[in-house]
């Protein structure tokens, strides 16, 4: 019995060490591009910029801030997958390159996703409580994004 327990432990430890050799690249770009969402929207209030970066940037930009455990497999793989999915869906670092209709779509969807609490996702919020958006945050962000969408529509 004791032997089986020890064997299982060694297998587990061995596997754990083995998987550390399968590293993933970090999502950390060298510089902020001109297309970046916040560079494109310089009129956004600072507090809102800060909140959106905290709530969204880790998965929806080229600049992820990694927690200490992010370098450890298999967490590194899971996080990498989340970031890939997030960037595939929306990459705010490329906002400036979107055409007007797409910008309007992004702005509309930001409000939509945060309003029904689809975003940020619960599994992210569990480990990043500062990313949570309260009703006032959501209201302010929606007001801003709706206004910006209208502005783009009228000033092409």
């Amino acid at each position: 019995m004791k032997n089986i327990g020890r064997i299982i432990l060694y297998i587990f430890l061995g596997s754990f060490i083995f998987i550390q050799f399968f590293r993933v690249e970090k999502n950390q770009s060298e510089e902020v591009s001109q297309d970046d969402f916040f560079v494109q929207n310089p009129s956004m209030p600072e507090a809102m910029v800060s909140q959106l970066k905290t709530s969204c940037y880790d998965c929806h930009s080229n600049f992820t801030q990694y927690p200490w455990y992010a370098s450890i497999a298999p967490f590194s793989w899971v996080i990498d997958q989340h970031i890939r999915n997030g960037k595939d869906e929306l990459n705010l670092s490329e906002y400036g390159s979107f055409d007007n209709k797409k910008k309007i779509s992004v702005l509309s969807k930001i409000c939509e996703m945060i309003s029904d609490s689809s975003m940020p996702p619960n599994n992210y919020l569990m480990l990043h409580s500062d990313a949570a958006l309260d009703a006032d945050d959501i209201s302010a962000i929606c007001d801003w994004s709706d206004g910006m969408a209208l502005f783009i529509m009228r000033n092409r």
């Binding site: 209709k101 309007i104 509309s108 969408a149 092409r156």
Partner: protein, 133 residues
């Protein structure tokens, strides 16, 4: 006797059939008249055949209806309509829609490149039109 009854029943029967026929819908599921009434027939046919099955009231899941609900189209604000039309184009071009699992189950719902072209061209034109409003 028989002849008399026959004559009086016939118009009554015709009336009953006429009234009943008003309830037969040719498009299923039925959209509010406003929403797609002005859209081209070939677009409506494709949407009805492949999309309305999940993206209308009482169909699909909460997720699919939240993402896009044609039954609620007239309630969408202008910028949301433009955004959704852009999204429709995008997801079709990227083959994210219809979902792979859905097509595996219902292969006849798959969209040909031609059908995708019809919808994306229409969606782009419609969005451009709305941008002008």
């Amino acid at each position: 006797m028989k002849k008399n009854i026959g004559f009086s029943i016939l118009p009554l029967l015709a009336l009953v059939v006429f009234v009943a026929a008003q309830n037969i819908s040719t498009v299923s599921p039925q959209l509010p008249q406003d929403a797609d009434a002005k859209w081209p027939e070939e677009v409506k046919a494709i949407l009805d055949g492949t999309c309305y099955g999940c993206h209308t009231d009482d169909n699909g899941s909460e997720k699919s209806r939240n993402a896009l609900n044609f039954s609620k189209w007239e309630d969408y604000k202008l910028t949301k309509k433009i955004g959704k039309l852009n999204d429709i184009s995008e997801v079709l071009k990227e083959k994210k829609m219809p979902p792979k699992k859905y097509i595996e189950k219902f292969p006849d719902k798959a969209l040909s490149d031609k059908q995708i072209g019809v919808i994306t061209n229409w969606a782009n034109a419609e969005a451009n039109k709305l941008m002008e409003e």
